[in-house]
Symmetry: C2
Subunit: 258 residues, 2 copies
């Protein structure tokens, strides 16, 4: 199972620029690995801005959120269509399974998800693709279903050989490697390591922060080998899928350590 992080999909310095060259190469790496893959991507700049402005992650508060919710669903489907175009175009047949159609939250937590439809597409040779989206919430009318929530549920259900978070840096660092020369790659992430990371608010978004992300990863590691790798370096995704040694951060769950 692969999660494409926002930075791989959208170049944040050039707002809404899709890295189609990167996606086409990644499609080729998945295809040549010969593995059955479920792909999850974030909403990137397509979803987070309007979602945050309108507090969609809190559920229904006021009527004006309804048009914002529809707008976000349109925007993330726009991104998703661009992603699936890249994969189909690179000879990796895929189908988009939007959370707004197949999931339901309960008070912000993923409750219902039809996992069977993912398996049925895999069985006929079509890669299922899903993504962060606005969806129904049985208590709050609507809410945000993040790509990470989907990853966790799918990992629990399918227990994949490996779960790969594909991003634009080599793994999880002690600080931002683009601005700090002394940032260090954390090769093994555990609950203890997470507890010791310095807490800052600057990277919080509607789906949480990097700490929330790592917590999701630690949960996923209960069901699947979990790692964070750099999707911008050719060959790393294929190597990770094929269980070869690869530069990155390995995530190890508490259960393995206790």
């Amino acid at each position: 199972m692969i999660k494409l992080g926002g930075s791989v999909i959208t170049d944040k310095t050039r707002y809404k620029t899709l890295r189609t060259d990167v996606l086409a190469r990644l499609a080729g790496e998945i295809k040549s690995s010969g593995k059955d893959v479920i792909l999850v991507h974030g909403a990137g700049s397509y979803g987070h801005i309007i979602a945050a402005e309108n507090e969609l992650q809190k559920g229904y508060l006021r009527d004006s959120q309804i048009t914002a919710a529809s707008q976000v669903m349109e925007d993330v489907k726009n991104l998703d269509l661009d992603v699936t175009k890249c994969f189909n175009g690179a000879g990796m047949p895929c189908v988009s399974l939007p959370p707004s159609a197949i999931t339901k939250l309960q008070s912000g937590k993923l409750n219902e998800l039809d996992c069977e439809v993912f398996k049925e597409y895999l069985d006929i040779g079509i890669m299922p693709v899903t993504f962060g989206d606005v969806c129904l919430d049985s208590e709050r009318k609507f809410g945000i279903c993040s790509g990470d929530q989907l990853m966790m549920r799918l990992a629990e259900h399918f227990k994949p050989e490996v779960t790969i978070f594909c991003t634009d840096v080599d793994g999880v660092y002690t600080s931002d490697p683009y601005s700090n020369d002394d940032a260090e790659l954390i090769k093994v992430i555990t609950q203890d390591v997470l507890n010791k990371l310095p807490r800052t608010q600057h990277c919080a978004d509607v789906t949480g922060s990097i700490f929330k992300k790592i917590e999701h990863m630690l949960n996923i590691a209960e069901y699947s080998k979990a790692m964070v790798i750099n999707g911008l370096v050719p060959g790393r995704l294929k190597a990770a899928l094929c269980n070869e040694e690869v530069i990155g951060s390995r995530v190890e769950c508490c259960n393995e350590r206790n």
Copy 2:
């Protein structure tokens, strides 16, 4: 419930030109009617050509159909995104519910469809939109779920006040009104009228022909007032939604006549 016929969505003489002006006006008419509406649209030229070339309506026959199936799913999602953009842009919030994610066929017939998700979006003021698509088939791996099959199932489930087939002519004619001056509008369509229509093959597509369409309409008329109207004439959709007299073809089911 409204079905937008292919001709309203795509101008066939100018292949893949979306009639965004028409859709924006129709969005305004739906909004000002104040009615809860489910919208279904066809696949138009976006889906039918590759689907027919690859016999996708027959289900799995050979591996090359898999890339064709993914391509059609991408193409119809492209059309659907353009449709939802028009409606959101015209102040009519909507959500796309793709059959590839929420329906399953059994030997080409619509078997499973989660109708509840349509109701839940209606309840929070978001118009559900669905469309003709490739989807899973429990016997044939995949198949085509037509907009008309969806209309029939949704009509049976929701029993809407009125079901409107919105097209680019005034209703169902005895022959093509664009090429025959003596074509006559059929004001009331029944099974008897259908039986007497001259049968030609020229309008058959992967989802059937106009005769198949009328059969679907006759079935729908068991659950809902059913009619075919001209979406290109301003005001007709709103009038039909508000139960006013409007030029068109009324479809009457056998049960009412027998």
